[in-house]
Symmetry: C2
Subunit: 279 residues, 2 copies
């Protein structure tokens, strides 16, 4: 559980005058997009600006051995910027969880302790660790249970395999890491080639770094666009990759072919898992 941290405290202190309806600071000729005395928020039409700048979302982020930690931490950075939200790192036990590249993180809640009613249920991806988590009975039961009631059911990268295995994607459009996106069909999902796919309350992101675009999308969904833009600026998310090989469409054959080959075993296992889960 994340208590109010320094960043949140600073932001609360800054925005308290706005939220309380006392004399606001900046004004502008155009319709203000930040909370200001007496003005409605653009996007949601609420009369109280307080609704958007604080919240009380309960967000559970699954962790498991062999996960890809950037799948988790990109979104966690975004969720962690939501003032008032509680973000839990949930695992089967409180034992430290080691990622596929050796980063060990301590969970903050067990499955049992995780609130039954969540605003957001989220899972990161990985390769073999993800397949193992997808078929683990406790993990699957946890995901299916919380996923049945969560306001949003979400994943980044191959985490959607875990959603699929828990029966949470039947009939939903969804994406995944490019290596296993098509395998989602075996779970009854509709594989969709986009960086962030939103189908009703299922919101899934493509591979690894898509977690940032997913995370900002979620911030806007949970609060509003202005909040998301503030988070984007705080994180200086103005990407400028030095190369242009980040997708199957843009990578040259010399890059694509060996990487497809490298993940061929994982792709196959994901397809087998999905077929076995079908029905």
């Amino acid at each position: 559980m994340i208590d109010i941290d320094r960043r949140t405290a600073a932001l609360l202190a800054l925005l308290a005058p706005f939220a309380a309806g006392s004399a606001g600071a900046q004004t502008s000729k155009s319709r203000p997009k930040v909370p200001d005395t007496g003005h409605d928020m653009d996007m949601k039409g609420h009369s109280s600006s307080k609704v958007h700048w604080t919240g009380n979302e309960q967000i559970a982020m699954l962790m498991y051995p062999g996960m890809t930690v950037l799948d988790l931490i990109g979104p966690q950075a975004m969720f962690g910027a939501l003032m008032g939200a509680k973000v839990l790192l949930v695992a089967k036990s409180l034992d430290p969880v080691t990622s596929d590249a050796g980063v060990t993180i301590i969970p903050t809640a067990t499955f049992e302790a995780c609130p039954r009613d969540l605003t957001v249920l989220f899972t990161p991806g990985g390769t073999d660790g993800t397949l193992a988590a997808a078929v683990d009975p406790e993990t699957r039961a946890f995901m299916a249970d919380r996923g049945a009631r969560a306001k949003y059911v979400t994943s980044v990268c191959s985490g959607s395999l875990i959603l699929g295995a828990a029966g949470l994607l039947k009939g939903y459009k969804a994406t995944s890491h490019w290596s296993v996106r098509d395998a989602l069909a075996g779970f009854g999902a509709i594989p969709t080639d986009a960086r962030v796919v939103c189908d009703r309350n299922r919101i899934t992101g493509a591979g690894v770094t898509a977690g940032l675009d997913f995370g900002l999308t979620m911030v806007a969904e949970l609060r509003d666009r202005t909040y998301a833009e503030c988070v984007q600026l705080m994180g200086e998310y103005d990407p400028d990759p030095p190369f242009n090989a980040g997708s199957m469409k843009t990578a040259s054959a010399e890059v694509r072919i060996p990487m497809v080959e490298m993940l061929a075993g994982f792709t196959k296992k994901a397809e087998e898992l999905a077929s076995a889960t079908r029905g």
Copy 2:
């Protein structure tokens, strides 16, 4: 320390035939950019393709309480993809380290145990935690020592304040999070407004998410462009932010002004630290 993980093992198995000079798989009419029997690598002119696809870099990534964990994990994802490299998460002790938003990670090496001669020394940023680390005598001494001999001295976000405080940026161009970039001048650095700044062996990234662009730049520097493109594709780093407010240039006033205000205290403390360290 990261042992050879599954991903590395898979990639090694794939590339072993290439590295050993046995019959390669794909050929193409254009000059191949992946290791192939008998061909030089484009970028570095080495005759053995083995040089680029494995390495033995020693990479130390500093951790400290209150760091911003995405500053660390973006680059760690990139460094972790370097086959053969050893990536250490180094801290004052082996006690778990908690980030500014509540993520607790277990270090893999202490300052004492960290190799004396590094390929890459790296530090993430944060706010108050970063200022504390910058003035902490043990941390400063560690950074100054390893930084004197490291092949590359690097940071992302306000981590450059730690480099500056250790005397490592005098006369070097460098960047930081937008809120404290200009403060670098107090350390004798030359604040430079770019997402990744390379001045001799000092390579610094802008705020938080710039760690991905920094990381790919480092992979290309340590190995070559093709390797970096492979890592980019594996991480599906084809960013597509839903909004366009990730920099001081692109964010609207309604976003910029409150965020500048929110960090004003931190900006001031960074300037004071830099001035106190001057000389």
